[in-house]
């Protein structure tokens, strides 16, 4: 862990006069001039020449963009006075957020005007690990060097040794980056975004479709949530909270019931009708216990199970059946013993769930970094299939692809083709057939140089040293790569270990065409336009950098990425929307109903007569979407070999065999060892947000925590360990240790320590650097036994009072 005394709140760039750099990084100098102490929370913003202290001049105007602070895909409306963006609001016409915006979105302007934004391309001239080792350079020079290195890889017939590690790169960025890699000849497109990974896999295994499931929350009557963070860090927070509002109060005389099964009283659990405080890691067992009751009592949807599912009854091939699995391994007594929930409660929940007019079980996705275990997601899907809630109103939906124009096929290029045919360094899709991306395995492959060495690593939005499940291994791996290029906008932890920092533009400074965010059932294409006339610094959008690099690397790549700039490419993609003959430009809720009614009747009334008109109207409204969802299109949503939903009893029984049945007595705690339970508060979910001071101030709605990492411990465990509320404690595992502030609270079950993710960065600007601790450092290397994703719930930690850290902690606070 980094010592608190090492806080570096001012970037110091070699080769630039120190004063000048500070002047470039908005705020500090002006802040001092105004008598505001440098380093105070607001000095950067209040002291800026573009700050509210200097009233902006010019007419009021509005611009439309898309928030990029999380994958939620909310449309934003930027209020401008002259050329200064002064406020972010939700775009009222955008179907994802309908004018609403979460605190993260509201704080978005702090990112635009952040004083620690990287002012332009930086080249490392000193040792890795410090921003002091960088000096300012020009784009021409930086791109020239990177392109030359890439060219040499192709000349050596080793294009596969280029690796892209990306995160939060929604929209057109992903499509351009993937095209860049393919045309270059690398199979190594590795993503750190895996919040949806387990839920998507459960959908794939049950229904044969590669997509993120969408839950029709607003239309259902009963939700059994297996620890899903519906009201904090859901896939698309504003969309989900809107849907939740509809579920609770939007329908006259029909209030949905929410039951939250989770060891912690999260904001979702606090808002639920019932909080079922299971032991950590037993959410899926609880769900299968409920399923067992539903099957035993014959309460399942017999028509759906008979006509549309496989694996429910014993098959001729000797494959186990769901029925026998539930009877054998998920009897009430065992489930009660494992989960710590009484038999009566399990029985009651099962009967309530089965009796509801429409019902929905949601898997335990806890945030963008915490996908949950596949077993638990499969268990949720078992309940949904038993209830017949697959692709029904109020059930689990499968989003349709956005019909953007398909890109022309890649021009023939033997070097690229040979490179693409190489194995991926992270072994995803082959060695781990179910995993799509595996950054931790990538680190091991880089460290071992097997099957081949990684020569160039590009970090687009990804901060693997901070946000991966094995930060220290990723750090070691980064050190081994000869050329690391970071596109970090506010230099993050990983950027400090890179060779070049080519700063990305802020989302309000660039074009984008983002497609449906995860968890949203309808196809949406949101058109983001630059809200400010020119970027505040010498920065460039990653997408444009990649287009530029393609031209520099060689004619083969230039031919594969022939668009002269981003707007041209976006327009070309949007022509596909016109050609799809469906959907409409974004409009009022009433327009939505009208389009839905028309398309439901087989008609399309576009409201635009040409691709040009669509482009114009999309620019005025925020984009295009198609609100019509075609329920029961079984050929599309049940794409398994049998055309039926597969209960996958063979997978579930594998876990059943591997999980030892624990006698109740064994649960009593005898040591200082506690189970580590991670969660993601909305303001800093996904490891993003700590850099914005407004968000640091609202970390937790219940305990009123701010500006530090805390650990929640049940009073019973705290008493046993001699830990007092608000004391500094040491949380240690074989992988590492952190010091955090204890919060003794009954909102977590005994035997567990719950710690939020999102703080504890070494860099990322003055407001994130050195604040809090990163519990990912503690994670055990355990893997989900069913799919190979990191198991975020398998770590045991030792917790002890930390007098040695008290002083440092107090100073930090």
């Amino acid at each position: 862990m980094r010592e608190p005394t090492e806080h570096s709140t001012e970037p110091d760039v070699k080769g630039i006069e120190r004063r000048r750099f500070i002047g470039l990084a908005i705020g500090a100098a002006a802040g001092t001039a105004l008598g505001i102490p440098a380093g105070s929370v607001f000095s950067g913003i209040l002291g800026s020449a573009e700050s509210p202290l200097y009233p902006p001049k010019g007419p009021e105007r509005f611009a439309l963009s898309v928030c990029a602070l999380c994958p939620g895909g909310c449309g934003v409306r930027v209020r401008k006075i002259g050329e200064r963006a002064v406020k972010l609001e939700g775009n009222p016409l955008h179907p994802v957020n309908a004018g609403r915006l979460c605190p993260k979105g509201q704080a978005g302007l702090q990112g635009l005007y952040h004083p620690d934004r990287v002012p332009g391309p930086l080249r490392r001239v000193g040792p890795r690990g410090s921003l002091r080792s960088f000096e300012r350079t020009s784009w021409e020079s930086a791109l020239g060097v990177v392109a030359a290195r890439l060219r040499s890889l192709r000349d050596q017939r080793r294009p596969e040794s280029l690796v892209l590690l990306r995160s939060g790169m929604g929209g057109i960025g992903v499509r351009v980056a993937q095209r860049f890699l393919s045309s270059f000849g690398s199979p190594n497109d590795v993503s750190l975004d895996r919040g949806e990974a387990a839920a998507s896999l459960a959908l794939f295994l049950g229904q044969g479709v590669r997509a993120t499931p969408a839950y029709d929350l607003q239309s259902t009557d009963y939700v059994l949530s297996l620890g899903a963070s519906l009201l904090e860090a859901s896939s698309s927070p504003v969309y989900t909270t809107r849907a939740y509002g509809e579920f609770r109060q939007g329908r006259t005389g029909r209030r949905g019931k929410l039951v939250q099964v989770e060891p912690r009283l999260s904001p979702t659990a606090a808002s639920a009708d019932e909080w079922i405080a299971v032991r950590p890691g037993t959410e899926g067992i609880f769900a299968l216990g409920v399923a067992g009751v539903i099957v035993a009592e014959g309460l399942y949807d017999k028509e759906f199970v008979q006509e549309r599912t496989a694996g429910f009854e014993e098959a001729r091939d000797g494959r186990p059946s769901l029925r026998s699995l539930l009877e054998k391994h998920y009897g009430l007594e065992r489930v009660a013993s494992e989960t710590g929930i009484s038999v009566n409660v399990i029985l009651r929940i099962a009967r309530e769930f089965a009796a509801a007019r429409s019902r929905l079980a949601v898997g335990p996705r806890r945030g963008p970094l915490l996908p949950g275990r596949l077993f638990d997601h499969l268990a949720a899907q078992v309940l949904n299939a038993l209830a017949g809630s697959i692709d029904t109103v109020g059930g689990v939906l499968v989003p349709e692809e956005v019909p953007l124009a398909t890109w022309p096929s890649l021009p023939p290029d033997p070097i690229a083709a040979a490179g693409r045919a190489q194995a991926r360094l992270d072994d995803a899709g082959t060695g781990s057939p179910l995993v799509v991306s595996d950054p931790e395995r990538l680190a091991e492959a880089i460290l071992q140089g097997v099957p081949y060495a990684a020569d160039v690593l590009m970090l687009a939005g990804a901060d693997p040293i901070y946000a991966s499940a094995a930060p220290t291994r990723l750090l070691a791996a980064l050190e081994r790569v000869p050329l690391v290029v970071s596109f970090s906008s506010i230099a993050d932890d990983s950027a400090l270990h890179s060779d070049w920092i080519l700063p990305d533009a802020h989302f309000l400074e660039r074009w984008d065409l983002t497609t449906s965010p995860p968890g949203v059932p309808f196809p949406v294409a949101s058109l983001a336009q630059p809200a400010v006339a020119k970027p505040r610094h010498d920065v460039r959008p990653v997408t444009e950098v990649l287009l530029d690099l393609a031209v520099r690397v060689g004619p083969e790549m230039a031919a594969a990425l022939p668009w002269k700039d981003l707007p041209t490419l976006i327009r070309a993609e949007m022509n596909g929307l016109y050609g799809a003959r469906r959907g409409a430009v974004m409009g009022e809720p009433f327009d939505e109903a009208w389009v839905r009614m028309m398309e439901g009747a087989g008609w399309w009334a576009p409201g635009y007569q040409s691709a040009d008109e669509l482009w114009k109207k999309a620019g005025e409204s925020g984009g295009w979407w198609d609100p019509f969802y075609d329920h029961g299109d079984w050929k599309r949503v049940l794409a398994t070999g049998s055309g039926r939903f597969d209960f996958r009893p063979e997978l579930l029984s594998r876990v059943a065999r591997e999980t030892p049945v624990t006698a109740p007595g064994e649960r009593t705690e005898s040591t200082s060892s506690l189970a580590l339970y991670l969660f993601e508060p909305l303001p800093i979910a996904g490891g993003a947000g700590a850099e914005l001071p407004f968000l640091e101030g609202i970390l937790d709605p219940g305990l009123e925590e701010r500006w530090e990492t805390w650990a929640e411990i049940n009073p019973e465990s705290a008493a046993r360990l001699g830990i007092e509320d608000r004391a500094w404690i040491r949380v240690a595992s074989p992988q590492g240790e952190i010091v955090v502030r204890a919060r003794v609270t009954p909102r977590i079950v005994p035997g567990v320590v719950a710690i939020p993710l999102g703080l504890g960065k070494r860099a990322a600007g003055r407001w994130a650097s050195g604040i809090g601790a990163n519990p990912l450092q503690l994670l055990s290397p355990a893997r989900d036994p069913l799919c190979g994703l990191p198991d975020f719930d398998a770590t045991k930690v030792n917790v002890s009072a930390s007098s040695a850290h008290r002083l440092a902690g107090e100073r930090k606070a």
């Binding site: 409306r77 006339a533 799809a580 009334a605 409204s621």
Partner: protein, 408 residues
Amino acid sequence: MAESSHSRLALLCLMIPAMLRPALAEAGFGNPAKGQSLFVSKGCVECHAVRGAGGRIGPDLGRTAVKGSFYEIAAALWNHALTMSDKMKEFRLVRPSFRDDELADLLAFLYFLNYFDEPGDPKVGKVLFAQKHCIQCHSLGKEGGSAGPRLDTLPRGTSPLRIAQDLWNHGPAMVPAIRRLGLDIPKFNGSEIIDLFAYLRSQGQRQAAHEFRSAGDPKRGKRLFREKGCSRCHAVLGEGAGIGPDLGSAELRGSVTQLAGRMWNHWPAMAEAMGALGMAPPTFKGEDVADVFAFLFISRYESRPGDLARGRTIYRQKGCVVCHGQEGQGGGIGPSLRGSSGEAKEQITQRMWNHVPLMRDKMGAHQIPWPRFDAEELAALQALLADGWKSEPASQGALTKKQGGGSR
């Protein structure tokens, strides 16, 4: 960089395509696209939903209220004026008034809603597919006979009119085949055809929706109605032959799918009647059925013109005479009504609507009960207002459209 206009109206999608608008205007129709915007901007949507979208204070207009001709919709609008005012007062909403062609556009929108069906129930449709013996000749998936064409080749979500057209064209081959099997020709009642079509539409692969601009060209439909020989048997609102039923009659009103069902039900009788006339049943291709149905749909917006003499009676019976004078010349209480002379029915309705608040106050003061009208009464009264008391009571009779009281 495009700026958001952020004007509510400007951003409303104009869902009724441009190609349809001239034909609608020619048919005396308001602009339903503008009507859709007005439904939102005038605040109707605050109280009323359309198929679930909108307020819940008043009835859902996509499901319950207005399913008839212009006068039926206008009468419903008038009759709910008082309740509406009370509710708006209670919820502190501003009562809308209309100018120019606004009310005509709004009514056109409300009428247009009926073009679409409530979604049918594919499960019920599946049962009907067997009950009506379709399954004996047609297959869907692995089930069904092979005498007729497979039906799971229909694109998923295809327009009901496309199925209706196929069904109709299929008649000459299908009716004898059914008879050979000793079965009854299937007939569809109520929403059966909607459910059956919903089932057929849920099969097959999904394709792009059918663009609405070609959903119906009423002008071409009118021509086809004549060319295909429909007009040799059927009249529309009294215009045309009288062998078959008048297709403008109230009993035949409904959505296009329901109309398709009725059209099919009369196939055997029609084929016989056409045979007697030496005609072959017409076949349709391309957009034919859509155009004919658009013509019939829009024609039924009109209704038979109001009767002047009846209008005078209504004028007296409903108490208009108390405030507006014996001959509409105005009295001490209400203004002259002769200003409406020669105006279209939409304009007269708009004037009536706009004077509701004033009229309510005056009527309350003079303890005159609020008049309610049915469609026929409203048509008659408006015929009188459009005439402006110019026609002599002796020459009573129905006004033609040219004399006013007809379309705009």
